[in-house]
């Protein structure tokens, strides 16, 4: 596993699904501007994960707390940000957009919510 001159670490989807990611840091977004009256306020933030490999693979994404089934559900929002570029089995690069869309499916397969929640609660508990 190497970092290419363009800054990307190239891996196949199979390899990426085998990388154990560890939680690094999570946080809540500060509200940038006052909301118009009556707008439903949602809590949003970010979470950052990293691999133990050399070079390190970094994946981060934004989340939002959405109401669901009487409780609340932490959901990924938007495409992830990463130094990973997926390649197919013939070593061809994925296109930029497709890379992010497929990395999003990988993120959705990681049980990240518990750790992000714990990290945020610990961090912001007075």
């Amino acid at each position: 596993m190497v970092t290419s001159p363009d800054g990307f670490v190239r891996l196949t989807l199979d390899d990426v699904l085998s990388v154990p990611f560890k939680h690094l840091v999570s946080g809540i977004d500060e509200e940038p501007a006052p909301l118009p009256c009556g707008t439903y306020t949602t809590i949003s933030g970010y979470t950052e994960w990293v691999s133990d490999t050399q070079p390190k693979i970094t994946v981060g994404w934004d989340w939002i707390i959405a109401p669901a089934d009487g409780g609340s559900h932490w959901r990924r929002i938007g495409l992830p940000r990463s130094n990973l570029l997926l390649v197919d089995t013939a070593q061809n690069d994925y296109a930029w957009e497709r890379n992010l869309v497929v990395l999003a499916t990988v993120v959705d397969a990681i049980p990240w919510q518990e750790q992000a929640k714990t990290a945020v609660v610990e961090r912001y508990a007075a």
Binding site: T3, G7, T58
Partner: protein, 196 residues
């Protein structure tokens, strides 16, 4: 919007002073960064004879945006001040990579008084996007294939939202609770601006 670019040897003295004053207003006065200043001007050891500046001026001739470009074959911020952002990776040292720093787009003439966060001040407006594209064009003319920049999470997000092909070079370092990255910006192909 008018763009000017050049080095401290090619730009007029009063232009350079104007840029240093603008930097002081944005980075020292508005954002509260702890930087070396003198007589209301902000300059550091990376403002050299070969440093390239790109600036945006509004219809009144006032500076509304600034970007600083440094070749990675000579000292630059990431290498000399924040090398840990690249973790174990080698620091770029090639004519194909330039560093972008001191990037901001703020119109002090504007009468709108919306509260502005650090990230918002730097990258979210159409002026910022236009300025960044201009900086990318200037860098490309100088032989760059990609830019590297030290950026907080908010900037990486906004770059992506604006349609630039930006991606972090490695995991963040957490500075006062906020993730900071070394971030690559691809110059080729230039992505279209996303309107939303």
């Amino acid at each position: 919007m008018q763009y000017i670019s050049g080095t401290s040897t090619s730009l007029a003295a009063e232009v350079l002073v104007g840029l240093a004053r603008f930097r002081h207003r944005v980075f020292v006065e508005m954002l509260g960064w702890e930087l070396q200043t003198r007589d209301g001007l902000e300059l550091d050891q990376f403002d050299r004879a070969d440093t390239v500046y790109v600036a945006a001026r509004n219809e009144h001739g006032a500076v509304v945006g600034i970007a600083r470009l440094l070749p990675t074959i000579r000292p630059y911020l990431l290498r000399d001040v924040f090398p840990q952002l690249l973790h174990e990776q080698p620091l770029p040292c090639t004519a194909a990579v330039w560093e972008l720093s001191r990037f901001a787009a703020v119109d002090f003439d504007s009468t709108r008084t919306t509260p502005v966060s650090q990230a918002t001040a730097q990258v979210s407006s159409p002026v910022a996007v236009g300025l960044l594209r201009e900086a990318m064009r200037v860098a490309a003319e100088l032989g760059a294939q990609r830019l590297i920049t030290v950026s907080p999470l908010g900037v990486e997000r906004l770059l992506r939202k604006a349609g630039f092909r930006a991606h972090r070079a490695g995991p963040p370092i957490v500075v006062e609770g906020h993730p900071v990255f070394a971030c690559w910006i691809d110059l080729e192909p230039q992505a279209g601006v996303v309107t939303h």
